[in-house]
């Protein structure tokens, strides 16, 4: 089969054994790859109601059909498991070059089960799999060190997915790193790897990915790239990148500031895209991406890619930090330790808030860099007050009797969009299939970036959350699901019609726009079933973000509130549009209509 390698590599860490199995092509046709195929495999591989820390909880590395080809932005890998942070599905995406290398090694999927008795590194060179002791050399290494060590020791062209010290210490939002600056950031995959004593997987592939008539495919891709990829709609990512959002979000009252106490950051001009352009050194790209959004910056001896907007928002504004040098340093520490910056910035912001309020002195205050720069190291090592930080915002706020200060959904800390400035995101956060996440739907595109829809109302938003408006860049849940099955990056504002053109190369038949959307809806419903099976918390957001009492008193969004009734009404409307009952359970009619092949 062209595009797919047709093979699954299963690694058992408990027994240090591996076996190759055929890819389920029936599932591939139904769910494409990436998110869709991942969820289908998770449904079968995760024992129902399993403890996320149990050896039986698998880690699945999933590619998309276009990884290892010239299809721009499709080098992304999705990593999946039942999250130890949220207890529900966790699909975490990362660019770089790991997924193509998996394909060249001959695998569409790698399933990792079990738990190693001793710390281990797994190396894969085509069909040769080795389990290498990670002690004494590799365990404890920072992310750049482990990558270089495996290039030196295993293969100079090895691509590595690894954890840093934070993962080894099972910090709930520890991430996976590849190509140093690329992170499968959210939901605690790094923690699960640490618990399984898996330091890294290094892979090298020398095989090929077939695509049928390669020269015809190349010719079509040149057209697709010129017409759809290298356009003004996408090149902003190369030119300014996500730091451009900092000023926009602050001006709109959407940027989390000083532990969500305002949506406007008074020092944003020090960390907006103009400030980052001044310290820009070069652009880098993920593998097989023509856009090249990864910006290298350099200041005061710190060189690296990023930070992206979410880091600027949570580790900058939310901590009251307007010092670009300190922010770069903090980002580097998180990168090296293997910490998700959204959750880290969120918990540090909360610790600052607790200090400022006199509830508990964490030695860190809004805007002060000394305690701030110590936080990632203490956290990753669970050292001193770092053990408190490692609780995450929900448990930390509860411990000190102020649960209302924790900004999270389903125990995942919220990213950089305050719904009090743009109401649509309230519903997006509440209904995201992995907890507090901005990547499943992005009403902000209409409400703030384009400004085509009023931000201070929920009227009509439920429909947009479900279906989006992809022709104009606003992504809904169904469309994001099929886009992440591809796996295309959000920085290509791809349309259903363009997806259909590419899928035709794979499946050799036409796809209508409706069919593309239906695949997405199928995937979203499968995810809902998985979460219901595992036991998911109610779909809601922190009360502060919708109640009148929680309204901001400063900044551009001051005085705005959604209101409890309005929020609940919109949620009911959302369930209705989805064909789910009042408890959010998909109806049999809906599951049959969209072609989900499993049932609760």
């Amino acid at each position: 089969m062209d595009f797919y390698q047709g093979k699954v590599l299963r690694l058992d860490l408990s027994t240090s054994t591996s076996v190759v199995e055929p890819l389920n092509m029936e599932w591939a046709e139904r769910y494409i790859g990436g998110k869709g195929l991942l969820l289908r495999y998770l449904w079968d591989e995760v024992p129902p109601q399993v403890d996320p820390w149990a050896p039986e909880n698998p880690v699945i590395l999933m590619t998309g059909p276009f990884a290892g080809t010239n299809v721009s932005t499709s080098s992304r890998l999705v990593v999946g498991c039942k999250s130890p942070q949220t207890g529900i599905l966790n699909d975490s995406y990362v660019g770089g070059s790991f997924a193509p290398e998996m394909k060249f090694a001959g695998y569409d999927v790698i399933i990792i089960i079990g738990e190693s008795p001793e710390p281990v590194v797994v190396t894969i060179k085509d069909d040769v799999v080795s389990f290498v002791p990670a002690k004494p050399k590799y365990w404890g290494m920072r992310t750049s060190e482990i990558e270089q060590a495996l290039r030196d020791d295993f293969d100079p062209d090895a691509k590595t997915l690894s954890i840093g010290p934070a993962g080894e210490n099972e910090i709930l939002w520890a991430c996976l790193s590849t190509d140093q600056f690329h992170k499968a950031g959210r939901g605690g995959h790094g923690a699960l790897w640490g618990h399984k004593k898996l330091k890294a997987v290094a892979i090298r592939g020398t095989g090929s990915v077939s695509v049928g008539d390669a020269r015809a495919f190349l010719a079509d891709l040149l057209r697709i790239h010129s017409e759809y990829v290298l356009t003004e709609d996408n090149l902003w990512a190369n030119e300014e990148g996500t730091p451009i959002l900092a000023q926009v979000m602050s001006d709109a009252g959407v940027m989390p500031t000083r532990n969500w106490s305002s949506g406007t950051f008074d020092e944003v001009e020090n960390i907006n895209s103009d400030a980052f352009l001044k310290i820009r050194t070069r652009n880098r790209a993920c593998y097989q991406c023509a856009i090249g959004c990864r910006q290298f910056h350099e200041i005061d001896g710190v060189t690296g890619e990023g930070p992206e907007y979410e880091t600027i928002a949570l580790c900058g504004g939310n901590c009251g930090i307007g010092d670009i040098s300190a922010l770069m340093k903090f980002n580097e520490l998180c990168d090296q330790l293997g910490l998700d910056t959204i959750s880290t910035g969120s918990v540090v912001g909360l610790a600052m808030d607790l200090t400022e309020r006199g509830i508990k002195d964490f030695g860190m205050r809004f805007g002060e860099t000394e305690g701030y720069l110590k936080a990632p190291g203490l956290l990753a090592a669970r050292e001193g007050l770092g053990a408190d930080l490692a609780l995450g915002v929900r448990a930390l706020a509860a411990k000190y009797g102020v649960p209302e200060l924790a900004m999270e959904v389903k125990n995942m800390e919220l990213p950089g969009y305050d719904p009090r400035g743009a109401f649509g995101m309230s519903l997006g956060y509440a209904t995201s299939d992995r907890g507090g996440c901005h990547m499943r739907t992005y009403p902000i595109a209409d409400e703030v970036v384009a400004g085509t829809v009023a931000p201070d109302t929920l009227d009509g938003k439920a429909l947009k959350i479900v279906w989006g408006n992809p022709a104009e860049g606003m992504i809904g849940e169904n469309f994001s699901a099929v886009k992440f099955a591809g796996i295309w990056c959000d920085f290509w504002a791809i349309t259903p019609e363009q997806i259909a053109q590419l899928l035709k190369h794979v499946w050799k038949h036409e796809f209508s726009e409706g069919e593309v959307f239906r695949i997405g809806e199928r995937i979203w419903n499968l995810g809902r079933l998985f979460n219901l099976r595992e036991g998911v918390e109610p779909d809601t957001i922190p009360q502060k973000l919708y109640s009148e009492e929680g309204a901001h008193t400063t900044g551009a969004s001051a005085g705005r509130f959604i209101g409890a009734e309005t929020f609940e009404k919109a949620l009911r409307e959302f369930y209705q549009i989805r064909g789910w009952d009042e408890n959010g359970v998909p109806s049999e009619a809906k599951l049959a209509e969209v072609g989900v092949d499993v049932r609760l």
Partner: protein, 170 residues
């Protein structure tokens, strides 16, 4: 003489050129047998391009004991349809060095002397393989598409010269 160079300053390390190169020549994507490559350090961001200098170098041809590296005349049209790209459609006549597989004995002498490390034993055919500028339709240049970072080109600038071995003969 036309040959491809990768600018270390402009290249983003997307590897599109290697992918297209392998798909064009191998009929499937297999960058481990690409005829050019970009060496990227993810931590430092440093990039070094490796491309065949053709007749500007010709060390492989000089060292070949069987005369298997032959000079071939080509007519090259600079590909790409993105308007910002310079020189698109320009026709260049010149010569490239290609491997006559009937004469190649896979002795490996050329692999040893290549200053840019772009002539190797083909893993399936067990003869030397190298860049032939896609017989006049170079896919590496076609797929270096971003108008802001066009890095794979026939143009030689100072930065590129510094990248290549100083002893390369004219």
């Amino acid at each position: 003489m036309p040959h491809v160079l990768i600018s270390s300053k402009k290249c983003t390390g997307c590897h599109m050129c290697e992918l297209a190169c392998s798909a064009y020549h191998e009929g499937a994507y297999r960058p481990s047998v690409a005829r050019l490559y970009s060496e990227c350090n993810p931590t430092t961001g440093a990039i070094r391009g490796h491309t065949c200098l053709q007749l500007a170098c010709a060390k492989c041809q000089k060292v070949c004991p069987t005369g298997a590296i032959v000079t071939k005349e080509i007519t090259l049209t600079i590909p790409g349809d993105f308007p910002a790209k310079e020189k698109v459609g320009e026709v260049v006549k010149g010569y490239v060095l290609v491997v006559d597989e009937d004469l190649c004995t896979n002795c490996g002498d050329c692999y040893e002397v290549c200053p840019t490390n772009v002539i190797h034993e083909h893993p399936d055919r067990h003869v030397a393989f190298k860049c032939d500028l896609c017989d006049g339709d170079p896919q590496c240049i076609a797929f270096c598409q971003n108008p802001h970072v066009l890095a794979v080109d026939l143009k030689i600038d100072k930065a590129d010269r510094e990248l290549q071995p100083a002893e390369a003969p004219a």
